[in-house]
């Protein structure tokens, strides 16, 4: 099994006609993802990928015609908030936004609205989701991941690939990999994804890849101690990064000194989560954790 996407996912691509949209649609289809439709305003009626995928003018029309139940967004930053509102209003339950560079205030409005509508948002500024052997919604290279029982959740893009690659070389397969995105304001967080992995019978352990900034890792650590019974291994990037650009007094007040790699690692250790010292150590720590159980 997997979480969020699988063979039953009927994926729609918003921004399918752009360079990135079409390239990654090809990749997703090559990975046997069921891509049922594309949306590009003013290109409704056209077909892409040798007539395999119909293009619609709106998400609503596309969803009505094809029964799409998830959308992946490759729309430029200034149009992406609208694309997310549109997907939510077309009642799609899952939206994955790959686009980077979306203003934070737009994301707060989008996130609040999608929350009210009960829509799950992954991203933005993320590599998307990959359920090995089943489906991919996003840009994670399919050939660096094997099928297995490790659930992976990450705030990074290429760092996630590095971890997947290390897992594959160690012979460890993945149930689902979810890139939740690196922006300050984003949709699903570590806790949301970890609880899905906890409930997934085919995930037996998890890897959490965090980085400096914010307090999501600290929150996840507390959550793991309280709610998660399956083993979790964490890695935090940015131990050598200089103190981030502080957001004036108000930022310091909100974060109360949280946000450094040291703080995050301390929080994980305090919660009984094993922490890998470097990326390539993750498979080893993961194996050790399972053997101990």
């Amino acid at each position: 099994m997997s979480i969020l996407i699988d063979r039953k996912t009927r994926l729609l691509v918003q921004g399918i006609s752009g360079n990135e949209g079409i390239y990654h649609t090809q990749q997703m289809v090559a990975y046997s993802t069921n891509v049922v439709a594309g949306v590009t305003p003013r290109k409704g009626g056209e077909w892409v990928l040798d007539g395999k995928i119909p293009v619609f003018d709106s998400v609503k029309l596309a969803a009505e015609a094809t029964g799409a139940n998830a959308s992946v967004i490759f729309v430029p930053a200034r149009f992406a908030p609208d694309a997310m509102f549109e997907a939510a209003d077309a009642e799609l339950p899952l939206v994955i936004c790959i686009t980077e560079g979306i203003p934070a205030q737009d994301m707060m409005r989008v996130q609040t609205y999608l929350g009210i509508k009960g829509v799950r948002l992954v991203g933005p500024n993320c590599p998307g989701i990959l359920s090995p052997g089943k489906a991919k919604a996003g840009i994670i290279p399919g050939d660096i991941v094997g099928r297995g029982n490790v659930g992976v959740v990450s705030r990074s893009g290429t760092l996630t690939y590095e971890v997947l690659y290390a897992l594959k070389r160690a012979g460890l397969g993945v149930s689902t990999c979810v890139g939740i995105g690196g922006d300050a304001i984003h949709g699903m967080n570590f806790m949301d994804v970890l609880s899905l992995f906890e409930a997934d019978p085919h995930t037996d352990r998890m890897v959490l890849i965090g980085e400096i900034g914010g307090c999501e890792e600290e929150d996840a650590a507390e959550f793991i101690a309280r709610e998660i019974t399956k083993p979790v291994v964490a890695f935090v990037a940015g131990q050598t990064a200089p103190p981030g650009k502080r957001m004036g007094h108000a930022g310091a007040i909100i974060e109360q000194g949280q946000g450094t790699a040291r703080e995050k690692i301390r929080a994980f250790l305090a919660a009984g989560v094993r922490v890998a010292n470097h990326v390539e150590e993750i498979p080893e720590v993961l194996t050790a954790v399972v053997e101990k159980e």
């Binding site: 203003p103 990074s156 690659y165 004036g248 108000a250 909100i254 010292n277």
Partner: protein
Amino acid sequence: MKIHEYQCKQIFSRCRIPIPRGQVAVTASEAKHITEELGGRAVIKAQVLVGGRGRAGGIRLAKSPEESEELATNILAMDIKGLPVHKVLVEEAVNIEKEIYLGITNDRRAKMPVMIVSSEGGANIEEIASQSPEKIFKVLVHPLLGLRDYQARDLAADIDLPRILWRSFIEIARGLWETYVENDATLAEINPLVISNDQHLLALDGKMEIDENALFRHSNLADLRDLDVEDPAEVEARKYGLSYVKLDGNIGCMVNGAGLAMATMDMIKLHGGTPANFLDVGGGASAEKVAAAFRIILSDLNIRAVLINIFGGITRCDEVARGILSAIADVQPSVPMVVRFVGTNAAQGLQMIAEARMETAETLGEAARKSVALAAGG
């Protein structure tokens, strides 16, 4: 992106937040003239984007136009924490009864804006926040509804603001919300917001940070960028859409992706070396962009080795190789380099650089170990 106090105050004023009378001066004689217009007394404030201006002598009270001229001469010749003072704000001196803090920023956890107030504003606000958190009050603002009057009123009550000032406080809180929304700020703060001797509220100092991602719809704000606060190499990097931060180590790093760049720097440290920079070439980087990145890394004279770690996805390793080769032909660097390519077109990329006498590595650990040894002269 931070903007100057005088720029904040101009924005505040457009949003009906009362500010002291005053004007910006770039010369001492202008300062003198403004002081005369203000009635002969004024505060001269250095306009630099660092904290602690007051302690550094960058904020002074002039009791006469002549003194104003003299103080402005001194302040305009100052460097505060390495930043030159090009402008001073000349403002009427306000008799202060009490200092308050009022700010608004993004609450990452709540995914909503948060308005923050404290009855004790001023330079020590961070100390107050950590030592007496009970003196700090916050309210989340619904991004689709905006700040409601009752929320501002509650904040006024929280800090025991005299009721006679509530109406004016609500007006200022609304103005600050408007400032924050209309300018895509990630931070807008008034510190201190003062109660003057004659019982008026006044924004004595202001600070704003603008969301870099939103500058496309605020060309007027983009023009306010102060390049003095930025490292020239960082400014150059931004032109190419690169994210670069100079550090004080000696191993230059070029990586695609911020998280991977940090993990690469961590790996260097773990092997006993020190990274010279953070550099993210971004996704799908062209050869031109890579060449620019490479030149920027090499412009740092402390560099003893360069580590290139590319995990190809959207980014193609052969394209990166092309960029590296063109930059090498251009700059003729003398420092040794370690290259690691994985993913899209890695084999082609490695083949292209085979003749450039670079070390290669299969794993990140190996790449870090080799670059540390090379930087140490091994």
